[in-house]
């Protein structure tokens, strides 16, 4: 079977959807030459009106996309670096997201915002290493973090077809992931539906994006010790697949979440709150996150120290297995 890389999957989804729907176009900085590879080949295929190289004016081109969407198009914006989302938070959270309700349902704003390379890029330091998915979930903007190439393909397709604004975070730690894929099976993946990345019976580990790889590695390691870890990948941060998560936790009754965002009010906090409200757990749940208010320091060892990693996850899983009642 051919290998598909995560970045190539995003590129393929974009190309397929542009070919299928002439209202889809992409805009962003340096996308004509595909500086990030997300848009590789698209300029030659679709031309300058559909692959729109923008000046450095994020606030205007983000609202420009909203205006184009109000006029019936389906823009996809590529953001070069994740922190640009801070610059356009107003345009997404306060404009695009609010238009439908504020107009009493007169319009829709089907814009997709893609960040190929969110989270730490290793060596890019403080202003290039954010992973702000929790912010968008908090304001209610649909937020997607695919973990695998097939999901990257299918979720981006669904994001573009969705009638609301959707932010798609492609973690830099996942861009290089490759998997064997029968291209004929590539299909849209619905927003809000998680998947069991590995089944197990002793504990549910919730992981997103590149952290799914880490969770699977930890599950392998613990399998050697006779511990059975289930890895649940929600795929979309918002809306969250609470039912899928509930079904997993009903089997395992133990829960750990690993989340590459800051601790306070982050995605991990949300998963634990859902667990407290709805699940019958045998032990207090745990979360592995970036620290509160974290800024990624430059030096490699410091960068790694701030991101949630396998050792912390291992310790957290062991912790929930030994606390609470017997398993």
């Amino acid at each position: 079977m051919p290998k598909l890389s995560y970045l190539k999957a995003l590129n393929r989804a974009l190309g397929d959807e542009m070919a299928a729907d002439s209202d889809v176009f992409v805009l962003g900085e340096d996308i004509r030459v595909a500086a990030s590879n997300l848009t590789a080949g698209l300029f030659d295929r679709f031309g300058p009106e559909r692959v729109l190289d923008t000046p450095l004016s994020e606030q205007a081109f983000t609202n420009f996309a909203t205006g184009a969407a109000l006029a019936g198009m389906r823009p996809v914006i590529e953001f070069q670096i994740p922190s640009l989302l801070f610059l356009v938070f107003e345009q997404i959270a306060n404009q695009a997201h609010k238009f439908s309700l504020m107009t009493g349902g007169q319009c829709k704003v089907p814009v997709t915002y893609v960040v190929p390379g969110s989270g730490s890029r290793t060596g890019w330091a403080g202003q290039h290493s954010d992973h702000p998915y929790s912010l968008f979930a908090h304001v209610g903007v649909k937020t997607v973090v695919p973990a695998t190439p097939a999901d990257a393909y299918g979720l981006l397709l669904s994001a573009i077809r969705d009638d609301d604004p959707v932010v798609v975070f492609a973690p830099s730690g996942a861009l290089g992931v490759r998997e064997d894929v029968d291209f004929s099976t590539l299909a849209p993946v619905p927003l809000g539906v998680g998947r069991i990345a590995r089944s197990g019976s002793d504990v549910t580990v919730v992981a997103l994006g590149h952290l799914v790889q880490d969770a699977l590695a930890v599950a392998d390691e613990l399998a050697g010790e006779g511990v059975s870890v289930e890895v649940f990948d929600p795929r979309t941060v918002y809306p969250l697949d609470v039912e899928g998560l509930a079904a997993s936790v009903a089997r395992t009754r133990r829960l750990v979440v690993i989340d590459d965002s800051n601790r306070t009010s982050g995605f991990g906090a949300e998963v634990l709150a859902v667990a407290a409200e709805r699940f019958d757990l045998a032990a207090p749940p745990r979360r592995v996150t970036r620290p509160d208010g974290a800024v990624l320091p430059f030096a490699l060892a410091l960068d790694r120290a701030v991101q949630p990693g396998r050792d912390q996850l291992l310790a957290a899983v062991r912790g929930v297995l030994t606390s609470g009642g017997h398993r």
């Binding site: 004016s57 606030q59 420009f64 205006g67 345009q91 439908s100 009493g104 609301d164 809306p239």
Partner: protein, 316 residues
């Protein structure tokens, strides 16, 4: 568009606003409004130059733009009163009034935000083969928002059929334009290669003439035009201003403004009996509109988050 039509529009906007201020005082409108009194000639002249399928984006001070583009005053009153029959089903209020069927992409409460929305919408229509023009209204205060200047750049660069209409009423809330804008307003637009003109914003016919030329230019594919309309806001920034008792302009300045009232300027062009007939017509229309709005239902609180998503979604 005749002199009578232009007069009808300025008079409609004026009387609509005066009634809306009364509804703020009586508590029928909660949250207050930003009165457009004194600036009516801009909305009337600009919108008179547009086709029904042309687009506008508006501001926090948007009643005049929306009325001039043709909305039903009953639905506009109902929106201000938060009723289900309002333009936005009571979900938007004064600062978000929209009617997509009339090309009104919404008033926008973030100063300077809509210039880029209008630019994107106009670009998209052209790409789809329609010769639609978009107008973005904004105040002098917006000229200091970087996002708006970015929009000028995109519009000029891509020859987008959009008109930037700056309503220079001399103040951003209480900040005088001289204390806020370095250089000149038109100079900023010209720096992007956009033809920019300063016009008398109190005379609807002058506004109409300037806008007609700009619309022709846009439809011919020649890109954006910038109009700085010199005007006067003759009432408060917002209806709460009277309570706050803000002091930032003199009585002389205000009375000088009133000496160039657009309703009088346009009204003087009509025969007395024609003018009286329009006044009576507007009064009857607004009586009926206010009655319809006051009699219409309030939204069901259980539907407070209806329309949040365009695609069906189950939220917790």
């Amino acid at each position: 568009m005749t002199s009578v039509d232009l007069y009808r529009t300025v008079r409609l906007i004026r009387r609509f606003e005066e009634r809306a201020i009364e509804f703020v005082r009586s508590g029928e409108i909660v949250g207050g409004i930003h009165p457009y009194i004194g600036e009516e000639a801009v909305a009337a002249g600009v919108c008179a130059a547009l086709r029904p399928d042309d687009l506008i984006t508006s501001t926090h001070r948007g009643h005049g733009h929306v009325l001039a583009k043709g909305v039903n005053p009953a639905r506009m009153f109902a929106e201000l009163m938060g009723r289900e029959s309002g333009l936005n089903k009571g979900r938007g209020g004064s600062m978000h009034a929209a009617d997509f069927g009339l090309g009104i992409l919404g008033a926008n409460a973030i100063v300077g935000a809509a210039g880029s929305i209008a630019t994107g919408a106009a670009w998209a229509h052209r790409r789809r083969g329609r010769d639609v023009v978009a107008v973005s209204f904004f105040g002098d205060g917006a000229m200091n928002e970087g996002m708006l200047l970015e929009a000028f750049n995109l519009a000029a660069l891509w020859h987008v059929p959009v008109l930037f209409v700056c309503e220079n009423n001399g103040y951003a809330t209480t900040m005088p334009v001289a204390g806020a804008v370095a250089g000149s307003i038109t100079g900023r637009a010209r720096a992007f290669g956009i033809p920019a003109f300063t016009i008398d914003g109190q005379d609807p016919e002058k506004v109409l003439a300037a806008t007609t030329a700009a619309v022709q230019r846009a439809r011919a594919g020649k890109g954006p035009t910038f109009l700085e309309c010199l005007t006067h806001r003759l009432d408060a920034h917002h209806t709460f201003e009277h309570r706050a008792r803000l002091s930032y302009r003199s009585a002389e300045e205000l009375s000088a403004g009133w000496s160039r009232d657009p309703v009088e300027i346009q009204g003087a062009r009509l025969a007395a009996e024609d003018r009286a007939a329009v006044d009576a017509e507007v009064e009857a229309l607004l009586d009926a509109a206010a009655g319809i709005a006051l009699g219409s239902a309030h939204p069901d609180p259980a539907a407070a988050l209806e329309y949040l998503y365009a695609s069906p979604e189950v939220m917790r």
